[in-house]
């Protein structure tokens, strides 16, 4: 079980993100206990796990010999858990919970599929990503899902915000030296494994360097629950948003407190004085592997499924069926930022694939831009824990020569995430990754995020432009140093 989480999270000790303590009473997000729940607690010797309101799963009462099953939401919010984080059975609960939500029909279920998971499914079944997308849409809708979207769309938004943020930082760093500290190098923030590790281990040395832009998953959450829901005729609290991602760390990200917002009861997204119900942007994350389990447990012959029409509202697919995307299995942050910065800061247009230079190992690459023989931009991509280590050490010593680094916790990037579908019998991991990389861009038209009409419309009608005030309040986040909680150390010293 431990191997599923990224190396960075494992080193930082998963227990610190899911703090155990004495009692597991779900006390999530400021909601009060109801009467009957309070009565239930007085039993001696047994630990009660209470269910709260409609948002949270009905979890069985703990009997002394029954394994306690809790969902990640409960864990992260609550101060108490009997079992250690690594033995908490997250997987099974997630898919079960998903199916339960669908059948209970109290909320509309919306699913967002990541392109890496799409590639993983496609490679596993030997079909194209577009086919996989259509078939999965058909399957999920047959279960009762309201809409299936593609996070490539929210990724474009995230990329644009990130580019603008970089340019802003670059200018600040080049200018007045008072604000120089912590501006550069800018470190990509899309990987929650990296972010969690940085918060836990490096604190203020590193956090100011991490880009404030939300990851594509969270931007999707914002889009769905703060904008698109109204177009679907729903209120934010009526939607149960599920994302399908290539790793387990995304589950940790979805459950962060920073991504909970209070719905404005008057409609719209401003915060008026009244606080409405508190809602989280992404309710649940399933991994590619979990989706595969779901399909297999139902005996579905995926390759033979009918292809359903796609929901174009929030997908990077046009009516003719062309899929759009960006190069780079980890989201393309390096690529996009590099080209954008070259253009905006130096007036250079970089055509064709970037000339990356491999350093210590295949997961550590750099690229630079030279103008008139002088190197003006020096970017890098560092995947995997050992490279992160070396990079962070350099940053702490002040010896980092890069202005931007795309940091990812998994070697070989998101396509190799812990939640991706495993290689087939006889297939090596390396082989699979090569297939995935090919599938990722198979029949995909590479398009600059700024050219995405959806994105253009969103900026025009809702956000007001990249890195604008509105965009910054909705599409950016912050990071907090995490201390080891007392309760975490009580039993596990």
């Amino acid at each position: 079980m431990a191997e599923k989480w990224s190396g960075a999270v494992r080193v930082a000790d998963l227990n610190d993100f899911i703090a155990p303590s004495q009692a597991c009473v779900v006390n999530l997000k400021g909601q009060k206990q109801s009467e009957e729940e309070q009565q239930g607690q007085a039993k001696d010797g047994l630990v009660q796990i209470q269910a709260r309101k409609i948002d949270f799963p009905q979890v069985r009462k703990a009997a002394t010999d029954e394994a306690i099953k809790v969902s990640l939401h409960d864990c992260l919010a609550c101060s108490g858990c009997i079992t250690s984080a690594e033995t908490v059975m997250l997987q099974q609960q997630s898919t079960d919970e998903f199916v339960q939500r669908l059948s209970s029909a109290t909320q509309a279920v919306v699913v967002s599929l990541s392109p890496q998971s799409r590639a993983s499914l496609a490679t596993h079944y030997g079909i194209t990503p577009l086919q996989a997308f259509r078939k999965l849409t058909g399957f999920l809708k047959s279960l009762g899902v309201r809409a299936v979207f593609d996070t490539s769309c929210s990724r474009d938004l995230s990329l644009l915000e990130s580019c603008q943020e970089f340019v802003d930082r670059y200018r600040k760093a080049a200018g007045n030296s008072a604000t120089k500290q912590g501006e550069l190098p800018m470190l990509a923030s899309a990987c929650p494994g990296w972010v969690c590790y940085a918060e836990k281990t490096h604190g203020q040395h590193i956090l100011p360097h991490i880009s404030s832009t939300k990851s594509p998953q969270q931007v999707m959450g914002t889009l769905v629950k703060r904008h698109a829901c109204y177009r679907l005729g729903l209120r934010p609290e009526d939607i149960y948003h599920v994302t399908i991602m290539p790793c387990y760390d995304k589950k940790l990200e979805a459950a962060r407190d920073d991504f909970i917002f209070a719905v404005d009861p008057g409609g719209g997204t401003g915060d008026s004085g009244q606080a409405g119900p508190r809602v989280t942007e992404v309710d649940s994350v399933l991994t590619s592997g979990e989706i595969l389990d779901l399909l297999e447990s139902r005996g579905v012959d995926f390759a033979a499924l009918e292809e359903a029409p796609l929901d174009l509202m929030l997908s990077s697919v046009d009516e003719a069926g062309h899929v759009y995307g960006v190069r780079g299995g980890a989201g393309g942050y390096l690529e996009t930022n590099f080209r954008h910065a070259a253009r905006v800061l130096f007036g250079q247009t970089v055509e064709g694939p970037l000339q990356m230079k491999t350093l210590r190992n295949a997961d550590f690459k750099e690229v630079s831009l030279e103008v008139d023989g002088k190197r003006v931009l020096h970017f890098a991509a560092a995947y995997g824990f050992r490279n992160i280590q070396n990079l962070v050490r350099k940053i702490k010593q002040g010896k980092c020569e890069y202005q931007f680094v795309e940091i990812m916790a998994c070697p070989a990037g998101c396509l190799n995430g812990g939640g991706q579908i495993k290689p087939r019998k006889g297939q090596t991991a390396k082989d699979l990754i090569q297939h995935l990389e090919a599938a990722y861009l198979h029949e995909v038209t590479v398009r600059d995020p700024a050219d995405n009409p959806l994105v253009q419309e969103l900026y025009r009608t809702w956000l007001g432009g990249p890195y604008s005030e509105n965009a910054r309040s909705l599409l950016h986040t912050q990071y907090h140093e995490r201390e080891r909680t007392v309760t975490a150390s009580i039993s596990n010293w």
Binding site: Q22, D44, S489, S491, W493
Partner: protein
Amino acid sequence: MAVELINPNPVIHERKSKAHRLDLPSVHGDEDAAEEFDATEIFDHIRDITDPEHPYSLEQLNVVSEEAIMVDDKGSKVGIKFTPTVQHCSMATLIGLCIRVKLLRSLPPRFKVDINVAPGSHASEAAVNKQLNDKERVAAALENPHLVDMVEKCLASSEQ
């Protein structure tokens, strides 16, 4: 946010009196004779340790008892089996740590102390036992200021 206790309604026992100790002849006898350690003496050291959760001593909660202490003075060995109040008690390791620290301070260094949970009294018995008897782990725990604070609080009543 109110933290729920693991065991909100523990059973409290009476505190055994110490009166019988005064009758021992060695108190009035040869001052230089080395007194052999016995279970009673060890028990005296640990009986008043406060439970981390409740304002009662370990004796009163029947976590430790004189019968569960084994002492071999000649072989310099002490074995203690304590019973956590609840099967899933996550304080078990902390209680064990308190007992160990108290004995570290109270016994001569020649003693080898083994602290275990009473067989069958805890869900993760083997893991807890292993943790309590690994001296590197114990030493590392005692470098954690939070834990040291908690241990000191529990031992405060016992130091009198």
